[in-house]
């Protein structure tokens, strides 16, 4: 059983989907510092994905500062410091640019297309922000909790 919620959708890179689901679980508190993270082998078998894919997922999450490999224990969730993945000022700037261009811009474009006001959009973002603090047992968008 996996300690985070995910339902894989075909047509989107598996790695991106799992990295997002784990990030969601950490940011929302579903996964906490010190929690054991499944081994590559367990991840591969649970998700029915290629072992090399599972390996890449863990490597990316370690690189992002969300997981750490503890010798003799395995992979564990780190004491997540927001922004920990960006070790330098340049990496931090790159993360912010990514947030603005890839995520914020399409959000604004879509809001204007369907006629949502700036105030309503800001309120939506605020509610989403709070829901992560309030509901560590909820599931990310598109994911059914797994048995």
């Amino acid at each position: 059983m996996l300690p985070f919620s995910i339902a894989l959708r075909p047509g989107e890179p598996v790695v991106d989907q799992v990295v997002y689901a784990v990030t969601w679980a950490v940011v929302s508190g579903q996964l906490r510092a010190g929690d054991r993270f499944p081994s590559v082998r367990a991840l591969s078998q649970e998700l029915k994905v290629n072992p090399n894919t599972a390996q890449r997922i863990v490597a990316l999450l370690v690189e992002a500062g969300l997981l750490a490999v503890e010798p003799g224990i395995g992979t564990v969730v780190t004491a997540h410091q927001p922004g920990a993945g960006a070790s330098t000022a340049a990496a931090r700037r790159a993360d912010l640019t990514e947030l603005r261009n890839r995520l914020a811009e399409p959000l604004v474009v879509e809001a204007r297309r369907i006629g949502v006001s700036l105030a309503d959009l800001v309120e939506m973002v605020r509610a989403q922000w709070k829901s992560l603090d309030a509901a560590p047992r909820a599931a990310p968008r598109g994911a059914e909790p797994r048995e």
Partner: protein, 304 residues
Amino acid sequence: MDHAIETDRLTCRYGRTRAVDELTLHAPAGSIYALLGPNGAGKTTTLKTLLNLRSPASGTARVLGVDSRALGPADLARIGYVSENQHIPSNLTIGEIEAFCRPWYPTWDAALANELRERFGLDPRARIKALSRGTRLKVQCLLALAPRPRLLILDEPFSGLDPVVRDDLTTGVLSLADRDGWSVLLTSHEMDDVERLADHVGFLAGGRLIVEEPMESLLARFRRVEVAMPDGAAVPTQRPANWLGFSVDGRAARFVESQASADAEAAWRAAFPGATIAAHPMSLRDVFVALTRSMAPLASGAAR
């Protein structure tokens, strides 16, 4: 040995028909390689030739570094094979057939056999002839996996099985994965399963290999493109060969870009001035359909 399987201009005939036509294929060691293609593309013939169940008319195949025509019992003991058409003695029980197979494999892992039998919910006293198709495939899988083969060849392992059985079989296959140099070659039409499992894809049509490359780069270069043209805009008459299945409906144009890149996007914009263009990633299933419908020659970066 860099490749678990490599063929060089492999050709197989049934009478005058070339079922496999100068096939040159490379399955890297350690990969899960999916050989895809429409029915009658030559997939099963290829697999049978790799296992020396058929002889090639010309060309060669090397499996785990050995010429397919020279594969002996010791080599075949390192290869697991599951096919729907495989014959297993129907009068035996599951326990009896395990006991029959075990002495042929020096590497038979009894603990793994127990684990798989439990996971698959198999009763050792059940007779093969009383089993459903799905359960019979589970038995075949157990027999193929218990020797911990270095190469697993699966011919349509999932066809016509319910999702629970498919999940069980997949987990069984992946349970072998902690061994170095372990490789899988499989054919399947269950594209969603394949998309998650395989890291390399070969696409066969008419006995020829049209595409061979890593899953990731294949999915990265295919995009479903939707164009909303401005009023009165002309539809381009000259279209690049990498646009597949081009169609127009009123002011909307659609096609599949098979070589997505920044240059390709620039080409879309040049072809449709003033249009709104959206490009969507595609599932392996959609890529398969697009490739099958358009047998236009496709240059693949990874194909050799």
